[in-house]
């Protein structure tokens, strides 16, 4: 593939622009203290419009833009599970997140593990939640790099040095500006998304002869493909569709970066308004998914990856390249690259906070000052990004996709401690740890049993667990995270009953019922600590 000069120039210019923005972001809503609340949560002060952009920019990753259409392109209807997933996620956590926001605001918690530690009086349980968060997030950051890599490959750039440069710059401005950097850049990201998708969704179908023709090609294509891929759901994958959508919807708000996003908001009304408006992004994601269908009608051929197999992640970039003049393709590619930077920054900050609060301060330096904690988080955010980069450079890309899928399943194992914990502390801390371990084992074991036909591997292959492995005579498949969380809940319940019968000590709950309703007034209170409202973005 020859080098695409115009596209590359536009991507470089926009990348440079958002990098400057990232460095300057430290002056936006200037920090009033050196505490972790400022670097990691921008002082918990974002209001409705800002937080809609920020949380939207945080949750919708470049990888989503590339991989969801690729899944539809390769597997048909099952790939559209992302739509019910992103449609139900916000109503699902609408009431849960305001409780989390309130209790974290009351006590100054920065991570979900902070809350778990105080709620159940168990640093060990908090450690399990923190480690799960870091482990699940790492491949997720790596996948955002894959999004950038797909764009680079389509522009005719090989080698890993551009990727390394992009990540060094990202690491530098995140170090300096903290969460303010991705927050400010998310405005650019989201505006680019709305422009590019708004144009593409009308322009490409016109060029391809209309939606009727596009879906006609899609139906015809999947009549000729092997079983397991189809233009509609099949008896075998229908349950996978449902459990994957529901499991992913619960999982997304257990991820550390989502919690970070929610905690940057000013008050409960902002959380609610933001969650009510975020489905607009979901609608756009649904449209983005359809690029996979358009690519079938446009007879797009994915580029060959480094492993000699077609890399379907290049389908969307190739589609843009075939359909648009090169300056607009450049904009679309910049959208994907910037779309990777924002979530990657959020994720590395959130993982770093988990390390600082629940490992460093808990076990290594209990006397660490606020300033020291901020410094540790800043440094760890660099290490996390370096780790993610190594992931991409050393591990087969397809395998890192599978690891991210596994990440979704294991983050779900923190659901009983975090989400149920917000409502009840009936479950015993010892039982929650046992349940977490059982859920982790169940998820990993079912993941191990699943083969991956794309890689020709007999094991570690995917998230669709065939129930026939359990000796059942059925071709039904279920999401491994769903199996894990069911095992987790059963074990947590059973062990709690046993431990309560044995009258085992339950630890002290440092939260009070009223803490779950704490709020902050819309207008600045008399207290002078509130940062000023931004005058512009």
């Amino acid at each position: 593939m020859p080098l695409q000069g115009t596209e590359l120039a536009i991507v470089i210019v926009l990348f440079a622009a958002v990098s400057v923005l990232g460095f300057m972001a430290s002056r936006w809503r200037k920090a009033t203290s050196v505490s972790l609340d400022e670097w990691a949560l921008a002082g918990r002060g974002f209001r409705s419009w800002v937080s809609w952009f920020v949380v939207g920019g945080d949750l919708y990753t470049a990888y989503t833009y590339v991989a969801v259409p690729a899944l539809l392109f390769g597997s048909g209807a099952i790939g559209f599970y992302a739509l019910p997933y992103v449609a139900i996620e916000y109503p699902l956590v609408f009431l849960i997140m305001i409780r989390l926001w309130s209790v974290c605001k009351t006590h100054g918690y920065v991570t979900a593990a902070d809350f778990v530690r105080a709620r159940f009086g168990s640093p060990t349980l908090a450690l399990a939640v923190a480690i799960t968060g870091v482990v699940a997030t790492m491949p997720y950051i790596a996948l955002n790099l894959l999004g950038i890599q797909a764009v680079l490959a389509t522009m005719g750039i090989s080698g890993s040095w551009p990727l390394i440069i992009a990540f060094v710059v990202l690491a530098a401005f995140t170090y300096k500006s903290g969460v303010r950097a991705p927050a400010l850049i998310s405005f650019v990201k989201d505006i680019l998304v709305y422009i590019v998708i708004g144009v593409a969704i009308f322009y490409i179908p016109i060029r391809l002869g209309g939606w009727g023709h596009i879906f006609g090609s899609y139906n015809a294509h999947f009549k000729a493909t092997p079983p397991g891929t189809a233009s509609l759901l099949t008896g075998a994958n229908q349950w996978q569709y449902i459990t994957l959508a529901l499991g992913s919807a619960f999982a997304i708000f257990l991820y550390p970066h989502s919690v970070t996003g929610v905690l940057t908001t000013r008050n409960r009304a902002v959380v609610k308004r933001t969650l009510a408006a975020l489905p607009i992004y979901s609608f756009v994601l649904g449209l983005i998914a359809l690029f996979g269908v358009m690519a079938i009608a446009g007879k797009i051929k994915p580029l060959t990856g480094t492993n000699g197999k077609p890399n379907t992640n290049t389908v969307v970039p190739s589609l843009f390249q075939h359909m648009f003049p090169s300056w607009f393709t450049g904009l679309a590619f910049a959208m994907i690259v910037i779309g990777a930077l924002v979530p990657a920054a959020f994720m590395s900050i959130a993982s770093a906070n988990l390390f600082t609060r629940n490992i460093y301060k808990e076990y290594l330096r209990p006397q660490a000052s606020e300033q020291e904690q901020t410094q540790v988080s800043k440094i760890v955010s660099l290490l996390v990004k370096a780790g993610a980069l190594l992931f991409i450079l050393l591990i087969n890309p397809q395998f890192s996709i599978n690891l991210q899928l596994l990440g979704g399943a294991i983050i779900l194992q923190t659901l009983p401690s975090v989400m149920i914990g917000l409502y009840s502390r009936w479950l015993h801390r010892g039982a929650l740890i046992t349940g977490w371990a059982a859920g982790m084992i169940a998820s990993i074991w079912t993941f191990y049993l699943t083969p991956d036909p794309a890689l020709n591997e007999a094991h570690w292959g995917g998230t669709a667990f065939a129930l026939s492995h359990l000796g059942l005579h059925t071709d039904v498949e279920i999401y491994i995270g769903f199996i894990g969380v069911v095992v987790n809940l059963l074990v947590s319940y059973g062990v709690t009953t046993a431990l309560k019968a044995l009258k085992t000590r339950e630890g002290t709950d440092q939260t009070a019922p009223a803490d779950y309703f704490t709020d902050v007034a819309d207008r600045a209170p008399a207290a002078p600590a509130e940062p000023a409202v931004p005058t512009g973005a």
Binding site: P84, K105, T106, L233, A245, A277, Q510, D519, P525
Partner: protein
């Protein structure tokens, strides 16, 4: 319940406690956008088409708008006027 009940972890200034419950009958509406997208038998079909879209696609796209509408209604109806 007041802030005095968590003495070892004092609350920062500026916090208010205008309510002691999130309960409201309006919250039940949220079940609609959560459950409907999970019932695949409703939409796992090709016809009727709309603007060239198979039913499977256009109907599911509506779920996102339903989520926004229902969450918006619940937000407005459970908001405390101050």
């Amino acid at each position: 319940m007041t802030e005095a009940s968590n003495s070892q972890d004092p609350s920062p200034p500026g916090l208010i406690h205008p309510t002691t419950t999130d309960r409201s009958p309006w919250n039940w509406l949220l079940l609609l956008p959560i459950l409907l997208p999970l019932i695949t038998v409703i939409y796992n079909r090709d016809n009727p088409h709309l603007l060239g879209f198979p039913f499977f696609f256009w109907f599911q796209l509506l779920f996102t708008l339903l989520a926004a509408a229902v969450s918006g209604i619940v937000f407005v109806m459970t908001r405390r006027r101050s």
